[in-house]
Amino acid sequence: MALRLTRRLLTVQGRRPPAVVRSPGLPRRSSTFTYVPDTAPAQLGTAKRMNLCQALTSAMDISLEKDPTAVVFGEDVAFGGVFRCTVGLKDKYGKDRVFNTPLCEQGIVGFAIGMAMAGATPIAEIQFADYIFPAFDQIVNEAAKYRYRAGNLFDSGGLTIRAPCGAVGHGALYHSQSPEAYFAHTPGLKVVIPRGPFQAKGLLLSCIRDENPCIFFEPKILYRSAVEEVPTGDYTIPLSEAEVVVEGSDATLVGWGTQLHVLRDVVNMAQEKLQVSCELIDLRTILPWDVDLVAKSVTKTGRLLIAHEAPLTGGFAAEIASTIQTECFLNLEAPIQRVCGYDTPFPHILEPFYMPDKWRCFEAVKKLVNY
């Protein structure tokens, strides 16, 4: 708060405020994608307009209501969270169930693992995915391996970790990362990334109830900008099932999170400018991923493009490309294209050149059809 006051005062004095990195709600550069709202199925009952934060709050509210052992904790969650995803939960459920922890990611995750092992349902928040690394040992060496190493005598299945991820326009190295690939390499974990509010609520509820440790990455740029009708009741969306968002016949485009919306624009550009019909797939669960659905699509189209913000080398597109190359070798009409962040740390001022934007993806579609 002192920092915010200082900024205001310094502005008054005629000086540009210094970059205040941990303050959400700063004006960002205009999006290079259009968000197209999802439609919630009517059979899920009453729906309400919600943004991504509110959909997540709703999911946690339902969990806390129905599961008396569920708790939500992390840095700053008690007052509502730096991204306002836990607003109202402490007042409703009490401070023994919705609470702040000291500033220590390895502690947050270690504590959560212990709670899960003791039979509770911990929902642990890491403030930014960029800060998940101190907890890497606990996640990879402990949570992921708990059941296996104990011969199923103990497990950490009740654990869910939530973390905001992805580019936001000005986040630079430490407020923009997409670390899914590090965790995809760890058997025993589930890794899930939603593309919008309706998906997020259902997927988060699935993660919370799934009896395996789950990491739920939330594209932070969509927190406020993604708004759609979201059912107010309890519903889940299955894990490890990808979804065909747009049907097509000439090329398969695979992405997740924010990138889905970038690729949706690419589908339109390809149709208009190249008369190419693209099939758009949202992977939704990174680990274990839906090989069969993607393979079925590529068998049909013969062309595959995968796009993600995370760097190219060792990124999850590499895993998809390698597996699909094995499954669909004879059906491929062109080499598989990957459009990803470059192999650099996430830049600040040069972010527009780093991102796998719709123009880079469009060029990749051209390469696929012109091969």
């Binding site: 002192a2 052992t69 504590f111 212990g114 606990q138 104990a150 011969g151 199923n152 103990f154």
Partner: protein
């Protein structure tokens, strides 16, 4: 608070104090309003971050000017109770059980260490010298208190009734191992005995213990969690996280440090500069005690008292049990490379937890030389029988490799499992499939 903040900020700017500067500066003489220093006897700092008085003396706290935290003991080295008020007055059965479990552990250690040397099992860690910390603390707890150990706590499992066969089966990784042969020897676990499966990374169990205790608190089950760790593991970041979380979140957990003088070859003077681990407790706001780990009654008393505080006041406790690791770190270690035989002999001969209890028992006429001879024969026979059985068992079926990664087996693992089955069947002589349970 907002008004005070704005006032403070504007005054600061007026006095040209740049908030962005890393260093504090004294107020400049271009102050418009001279502030007359005002103080009185009730002038207390109002900082949200600490509770203290003001001082006008410029003094640094010197850690060495404080005496070390004293070591609580009940028995002297010859087995006499020093202060009868601290005699736990345990029944004869309880004392005999403690003695028999310590010696049984010792015998099992000797046989399993040898078996590694003979190539029968791949690895082993002994508990020599630390039988007192393990049995003494186990006796002071409720059998349902949850134990999260490091790797040198087999005595607790033994005390709680984990069968000798089960220790052996785990070390052999055979088809009878309740851990399904997934881990190296001594990585025991038993849900029935409330002993969480051991994992190799050090100190990872510590913040988990804080979390488990928090869950126990919410469940109102009247139990506590007990977390064992060595003085070396206490250097890990996870230890700091564990203490802080337990204190801030009021977790009913006992942190039990086995300070045995060495972390493999690293002696304590290369591990920390402060007064051991005990001194850290108060800095986190945790009630702390240091105890003679080789005095089984002192360990018992301290653990029992700690448990009482933990449960009734719902807060963490730190116990630092001072002891000595008489054996090597493991079968992969030869400690003569970094310490003298004389040093080891001193602890073995002059200050061993088993000898001290035996001396007490002999003085109290609870035990004789004949009892000792009979029991040594009996316990050795018991261990060797279990050992023989475990050795004959087959290994688990190879498909066990793919289970328990997730609760349910995902498609991609099923595919990999079938691939492995086909391959191993085709090359069954190479993989000696007849040593394993059938698929």
């Amino acid at each position: 608070m907002a008004t005070r903040g704005v006032l403070l900020c504007s005054r600061v700017l007026k006095w040209r104090l740049f908030v962005q500067k890393a260093h504090c500066t004294f107020l400049s003489t271009r102050i418009d309003q001279q502030q007359k220093p005002s103080y009185s006897a009730d002038d207390k700092p109002l900082f949200p971050g600490s509770r203290s008085k003001y001082t006008e003396k410029l003094e640094f706290i010197q850690p060495t000017s404080y005496e070390g935290i004293p070591v609580y003991r009940v028995l002297d080295r010859k087995g006499n109770i020093i202060d009868p008020n601290h005699d736990p007055k345990l029944s004869k059965e309880a004392i005999l059980k403690m003695y028999k479990d310590m010696t049984l552990l010792n015998t099992m250690d000797r046989i399993l260490y040898e078996s590694q040397r003979q190539g029968r099992i791949s690895f082993y860690m002994t508990n020599y010298g630390e039988e007192g910390t393990q049995i003494g603390s186990a006796a002071g707890l409720n059998p349902n208190d949850l134990i999260l150990g490091q790797y040198r706590e087999a005595g607790i499992l033994l005390y709680r009734g984990f069968p000798i066969e089960s220790f052996m089966n785990q070390c052999y990784g055979n088809c009878m191992d309740i851990g399904k042969g997934r881990q190296m020897p001594v990585h025991y676990g038993s849900a029935e005995h409330r002993f969480v499966t051991i994992s190799s990374p050090l100190a990872t169990q510590m913040p988990q213990a804080s979390g488990a205790a928090y869950a126990y608190k919410r469940a109102e089950n009247g139990l506590c969690v007990v977390c064992y760790f060595g003085e070396g593991a206490a250097s890990e970041g996870d230890a700091h996280a564990a203490f802080n979380f337990a204190a801030v979140l009021d977790c009913p957990v006992i942190f039990f440090c086995r300070n045995n003088g060495y972390a493999i070859s690293t002696p304590t003077q290369d591990q920390y500069r402060g007064d051991g681990i005990a001194i850290r407790g108060p800095s986190y706001g945790i009630d702390t005690i240091r105890v003679d780990g080789n005095d089984v009654f002192a360990v018992y008393n301290a653990t029992k008292a700690a448990r009482q505080i933990c449960i009734s006041q719902c807060k963490p406790i730190l116990i630092e049990a001072m002891t000595y690791r008489i054996g090597h770190h493991s079968t992969s270690d030869d400690s003569s490379a970094y310490r003298s035989i004389d040093e080891v002999n001193y602890w073995d001969k002059e200050n061993h937890p088993i000898s001290r209890l035996r001396s007490y028992m002999i003085i109290q006429k609870l035990w004789s030389e004949d009892d000792e001879k009979t029991w040594m024969k009996e316990s050795r026979k018991k261990i060797l029988e279990a050992f023989g059985k475990a050795e004959k068992q087959k290994k688990p079926k190879p498909t066990e490799l793919f289970y328990d990664v997730y609760k349910e087996m995902p498609k991609h693992l099923e595919k990999q499992m079938n691939e492995m089955k086909r391959h191993a069947t085709e090359y069954k002589d190479v993989y000696q499939l007849n040593n394993y349970e059938q698929f």
